[in-house]
Amino acid sequence: MIAEQVVGTVTDPELPMVTLAELGIVREVRQDGDGVTVTITPTYSGCPAMETIRADIAAALRSAGFGAVEVRTVLAPAWTTDWITDSGRRKLAEAGIAPPGAAPRRASGPIPITLSPRHDTIRCPRCGSARTEAIAAFGATACRELRRCTACREPFEHMKEI
């Protein structure tokens, strides 16, 4: 197997239904003989999973027979949910997590403040209804918020656009 395929099988420690590549955390895989350099980027500054992610990638490559494995980190450009692939979005939805919409576009000038809950159309991952509302802007991890569906009445998680 080539290195990129091996790295492509490594799943996220907190969202094991998707791979690191599908989340857009893997930025580059460079193979040179039996040596591999993988470049990753953190989702959030304080992401506590980075060390596990580094270790998981290195372990997968070593068990596939690669020798010198280096996992590098890049901070720029900053990670955005726009990098989550279509298959990643589908798997998140299948696991009951509403995938993110398009990340907010930055206009020139000061960043506007949001004083009331956003009116957005996040569809319920269970019944597909667009009649959902936010419960809390923060969830079990930095990337998720809590919502509820007013049609099927089930609560669900939504991956926030960033």
């Binding site: 470049t39 953190p42 506590p48 980190t73 901070l75 720029a76 450009p77 004083l115």
Partner: protein
């Protein structure tokens, strides 16, 4: 390796040294080129990274103290998440400070092995909050200031600072929204909640005056650092918008001497460090 949850990921190690008092992890900037931009004084860059890193570290610790004390579970999650983002920013900035200093100090040395007078955070970050309204007023002032600062810092001549700031901008945007929405809800609430929010805002303003006074290090690092005086207009506009929506009186910032950046702090910082550094000082290098 794949795990059903983060706890599984953390405990699946034969080497228990991961449960160290510090981060116990590798450098958060591992594998990021650590070059310094040309013509920048190392000591000044280190001092500047320390200022911004200490702001985040101390504010993060104060936020963590609210976990188990917040009015609702949802707000505990919010406060813990904001504290975690700031802790992440602190780790990156303290690591950068150590690299720029070039004396071999890492993030743990800087967080756990300095005395209060060596900390460079603004005093706003260290204040204790007597109630939730005070916390939200302080978080609003802190995030409004830091977001405007980081937005400009993302154009820094130091690519590392620029990258840390650009990432922080995304996080600080929702931190500020969270604080502002609570200030509006409490301010524009009952007569009692309005009075408490008004008291919270007037209580935090004396600490906001020092946020816009440039330190000599910031002025010497023109192009790398941001002179905080330039963001005053944006800060005032945002604060006015929030206070108006909250039916609160406009804010007047008193001119006060900026001392936090030179290591002159209130007793509150000593109290934070006594708690934060206790284990590291009792068991130097401890891991279990």
């Amino acid at each position: 390796m794949a795990f059903d949850d983060a706890y599984g990921a953390l405990t699946d190690h034969a080497d228990d040294a991961r449960w160290a008092y510090g981060t116990g992890f590798t450098d958060p900037l591992a594998g990021v080129p650590a070059d310094l931009p040309d013509g920048v004084d190392r000591a000044d860059l280190a001092a500047y990274c320390l200022m911004l890193g200490d702001d985040a570290l101390i504010m993060s610790h104060r936020l963590q103290q609210w976990v188990t004390r917040a009015p609702e579970l949802e707000d505990e999650l919010a406060i813990a998440n904001i504290g975690l983002d700031l802790l992440g920013q602190a780790r990156l900035l303290l690591t950068r400070a150590g690299t720029a200093e070039g004396a071999g100090r890492d993030e743990d040395d800087l967080a756990y092995r300095r005395e209060a007078h060596e900390f460079r955070n603004v005093r706003l970050a260290e204040r204790d909050d007597a109630d939730f309204a005070q916390l939200m007023a302080r978080l609003l002032v802190f995030t409004t200031w830091r977001l405007a600062l980081f937005d400009r810092l993302s154009g820094s001549r130091d690519p590392m600072l620029a990258a840390i700031a650009a990432k922080g901008v995304k996080e600080l945007t929702y931190h500020r929204d969270y604080a502002a929405q609570w200030v509006v809800r409490i301010g524009d609430g009952t007569p009692l909640s309005h009075a408490r929010m008004a008291a919270a805002i007037s209580g935090v303003l004396p600490l906001a005056g020092e946020l816009f006074q440039a330190h000599e290090v910031e002025l010497r690092l023109a192009g790398v650092a941001v002179d905080p005086a330039v963001i005053r207009g944006e800060f005032d506009a945002v604060l006015a918008e929030v206070l108006t929506a909250a039916t609160l009186e406009p804010a007047e910032l008193p001119e006060v001497p900026a001392t936090g950046r030179d290591g002159e702090h209130t007793a509150a910082l000593t109290e934070i460090l006594a708690e934060m550094q206790e284990l590291a000082r009792a068991v130097p290098g401890g891991a279990w």
